[in-house]
């Protein structure tokens, strides 16, 4: 059966003409910040690749504290191209988070969150949190001493939250400490809970983008910027970006395969100079800035409260930026956004270098 006959077979049964018309009528505005549109597509593409490589790895991974580390060593050393799929999954995760941060920072600066797109911002922000947890849960699955220590630090910080802290930490760890129970729990999060939540959120985010259309920076909105049809113009541009991204991810996977440390021992003391993954470094560095005690209060609790408050305010930013919603310039919020970005980037660099 050739392609034309196959196409006819389907079109005899299903009417795709409305979908084709929708794709052809959809337009993508061309403006100075349109690279943000492509970063969104890149994240979607990378998440798709993560699902595929994750499924391949899940065929061989054993989520048990006695066998988890050994199974990864076997994937890497014995399985044909196992090292490649593991490395690709690792670099795919790093790039997804990197482009998520770029997408978020860009959205913040061009104020795409302004009325009526507040819910697009909210879903995107929650998606960032979910994908960070995706990264953390995947990190523990390696079950080496660095992963164990990193997760101890990350989940330990949750305890400092007032009222819900102790419960949340026990819920995440499956007990008081990071043990084999945590590994099982994180595996369930990583392969079942988080993928489902991610798919739902991506669906909602994409649906909202379709509903409101793609945003245009406020300054250029009045000039009525040109637009290109989504299909085929923007779609082919997307395809070029995705192909290059695939090449970069493969190259990183080949030249920089991630190391595997010594098998984790929950009873062993935490090794020195342990640092969390790069996307947690700004939080880690902020915690280091605070002294043990401030005015009789626990310094760590104060730091965690400050970080949570700052992140909460960033989440609710579209509700505070009234001027942008009215289509007016709001330099105060531009500076607040620049402050957030500068702080996160600087602290990440300091944390990485120190």
């Amino acid at each position: 059966m050739n392609f034309r006959r196959l196409k006819n077979w389907f079109t005899d049964r299903y009417d795709f003409s409305d979908l084709v018309k929708l794709a052809q009528s959809k337009t993508v505005p061309v403006h100075s910040g349109d690279f943000l549109y492509y970063t969104g597509g890149m994240i979607l593409f990378l998440i798709g690749l993560q699902f595929i490589t994750g499924m391949i790895l899940a065929f061989y991974y054993v989520p048990h504290p006695d066998f988890a580390h050994k199974s990864i060593v076997e994937i890497v050393t014995k399985l044909h191209l196992g090292w490649f799929f593991r490395s690709f999954h690792h670099w795919g995760a790093q790039l997804t988070l990197l482009f998520l941060f770029i997408h978020l920072f860009g959205t913040l600066l061009v104020k795409s969150y302004r009325k009526p797109r507040e819910f697009i911002w909210f879903t995107g922000f929650i998606l960032l949190g979910i994908l960070i947890f995706f990264g953390l849960s995947g990190y523990l699955l390696l079950w080496d001493e660095r992963a164990l220590a990193g997760v101890k630090v990350a989940t330990g910080g949750v305890k400092a939250l007032p009222l819900v802290g102790t419960f949340l930490m026990a819920f995440l760890r499956g007990g008081v400490d990071v043990t084999g129970e945590t590994l099982t729990r994180f595996y369930a999060f990583h392969v079942a809970v988080l993928p489902l939540v991610t798919l739902l959120l991506i669906g909602l985010h994409a649906l909202l983008v379709q509903y409101h259309g793609l945003s245009v920076p406020r300054r250029e909105e009045k000039n009525n910027p040109a637009s290109i049809p989504f299909f085929p113009n923007a779609f082919y541009h997307d395809l070029i970006v995705w192909l290059l991204l695939l090449g970069v991810t493969v190259t990183l996977a080949v030249f920089f395969p991630p190391e595997i440390g010594i098998k984790a021992d929950p009873l062993a003391p935490t090794p020195e100079n342990i640092k969390p993954e790069w996307y947690f470094l700004f939080v880690f560095q902020t915690l280091k800035l605070f002294p043990g005690e401030i005015l009789g209060l626990n310094g760590e609790v104060m730091a965690i409260l400050l970080i949570v408050t700052a992140m909460g305010l960033l989440f609710l930013l579209p509700l505070f930026d009234k001027k942008s919603s009215r289509g007016e310039a709001s330099p105060l919020f531009t500076w607040i956004s620049v402050g957030y970005i500068a702080y996160i980037v600087t602290m990440t660099i300091i944390g990485y270098l120190s």
Binding site: W83, P232, N233, I240, L243, L244, G247, V250, P258
Partner: protein, 82 residues
């Protein structure tokens, strides 16, 4: 001579635990032939990607040309004579 002897003994004692340490896990094939195949495949893969990019670029140029001429649009249905 005595100093040198003691220094050697101390040096041996200090590095002795390293023999008992777990070896570094190789995360990339070590055989030169396997490495050669991987790098060669990567080069071919990039060639494939860049070729596809060029083809898509040409396709985009063609699409832009037809859109400029307006021949991509479908004609309105011809009015039928009653």
């Amino acid at each position: 001579m005595k100093k040198l002897f003691y220094t050697l003994i101390l040096l041996l004692l200090s590095i002795a635990p390293l023999w008992g340490a777990e070896g570094k896990i190789e995360v990339f094939p070590t055989a030169p032939y396997a490495r050669y195949i991987i790098y060669e495949s990567l080069a071919i893969f990039w060639l494939f990607i860049l070729s596809l990019v060029v083809i898509i670029k040409l396709k985009l140029r063609e699409i832009a040309r037809t859109q400029k001429l307006g021949i991509n649009r479908e004609d309105a249905p011809i009015p039928q004579l009653e």
